[in-house]
């Protein structure tokens, strides 16, 4: 079982155990991780579940598809090369941890 570690804007971290097949967004909702709003519930329609995947983990997941990449144009915080929508990342289940940074804002 992979622990997803959410680094929050206030400098604290939250660790939530992912179930197999869950997206990072679902893990955040399940663990009540604030700052990942996920208003559309994972339909890739709202761009309010923006996260920065920590560099060491970027290679573990497939890159954003065209739809996600286009939606990332609309995120409220700065878009960076490691910006992703948490609803589009399935947590890899062959690692112990998976780390993301939660941006300052989603609106």
């Amino acid at each position: 079982m992979t622990e997803v570690i959410f680094h929050l804007p206030d400098g604290s971290a939250r660790s939530v155990a992912a179930k197999s097949g869950q997206t990072v967004m679902q893990v955040a909702v399940q663990g009540n991780v604030r700052g990942i709003d996920a208003e559309c519930g994972g339909a890739c329609a709202c761009a309010t579940c923006h996260v920065y995947v920590e560099p060491e983990y970027v290679g573990l997941i497939p890159p954003a598809n065209e739809e996600e990449s286009e939606m990332l144009d609309g995120v409220a915080a700065e878009r960076r090369p490691n910006s992703r929508l948490a609803c589009q990342i399935t947590v890899p289940d062959d690692v112990e941890t998976f780390g993301v940074d939660v941006p300052e804002c989603q609106f």
Partner: protein, 406 residues
Amino acid sequence: MGKGTLVIGASHAGVQCASALRDAGYAERIILVGEDDALPYHRPPLSKTFICAKVSEEDIELKSHAFYTDEQVELRRGLRADFICREARTVTLSNGETLEYDNLVLATGSRPRLWRKGEMPGNVHVLRTLADARQIVRTLKATDGTVAIVGGGYVGLELAATVRTQFGRDVVIIEASGRLLSRSASPLLSDWVARQHVLAGSRLLLNTPMVGFETSDGVVDAVVLDGQPDVKASVVILGLGIVPNEELALQAGIRCADGIMVDEFCRTDDPCVYAIGDCTRFSVAQVDRMVRLECVQNAHDQARTVAATIAGNPTPYRPVPWFWSDQMGSKLQTVGFLDNAVSSITHGDIENGKGSFFHFDSEKNLCAAETVNNPAIHMQIRRAMAAGKKLEQQRFEHEGKLDLKV
């Protein structure tokens, strides 16, 4: 400690209100009362991924149990609010319990418009709740034959798409007006959507008012039409629009007019009572009418507005309405108001599945944009509109030069 905030209605608006109040640092008591027995859930997947079992009940929860516990939001499920006493600032629930409030937020939502006096033979359904969705799935599994969708709005069409493509059923879409999505899409998008449904093999009957049902042993077997042969159907799903749940407010003497009337801070005419979401009606600068916005965006944005008002940091709500729909493998997104559209420009190759319709008002400024599989454009316009930026028609005249970045 005061009596805190009592929120009636525990769906998108109510839950977001509780969440936004805590985000705003509100430390008083929050009680959230909802009629549904389920943990509050996202409604949009009900017509799409939920009924074809691509997502589970847990997947569509708005918030997990941890939210209600950690944030000290007292969620009271399976209870209806029956009576508001504004003098005593209390609400009486269906179990007889009376709750006190300092602030009352009505997030009572809406309900599907029923056929005539609620006449609902067996295998005729509406879709609003998780229980409705489960019932539709049970009926689809227990029957074969044609599924009739009455009403060509978004809920009906999403169901039509799911039933046709995921359940492989014959589908007939029956619409009283001359086009699909007549209240919520431009004729350009209506036509495109209609073609997709026809291409998928669904039958489309426009300008076709329904008259009633044929039944045998209390179960539907046809939809009766005006001046046309009956449509045989083993399942009928009604998508006839929604009715705002304003009765609780009306009974308390709060001003309503097909929706609970609120101002730009989501205040009703009682200073202690607010209303948010589908149940509200309000004026907006962009159009010359009082609007009800039946979408998730409005529920969430009004929830944040009311939370800011209650938390002492009032900020007026200036809506940029947007919504999305997933049908036949395409993502449709709309932003803005279509009311004042007098001209349109099309970009991209919509027939091949990716493009945009831009709509302009008489002053040649963009008032709405509808995109098909074009989320980047949708997002850029949403951001520009939210920033109050005017987008002149001339910027859209040369497709290759379009740059909307704010």
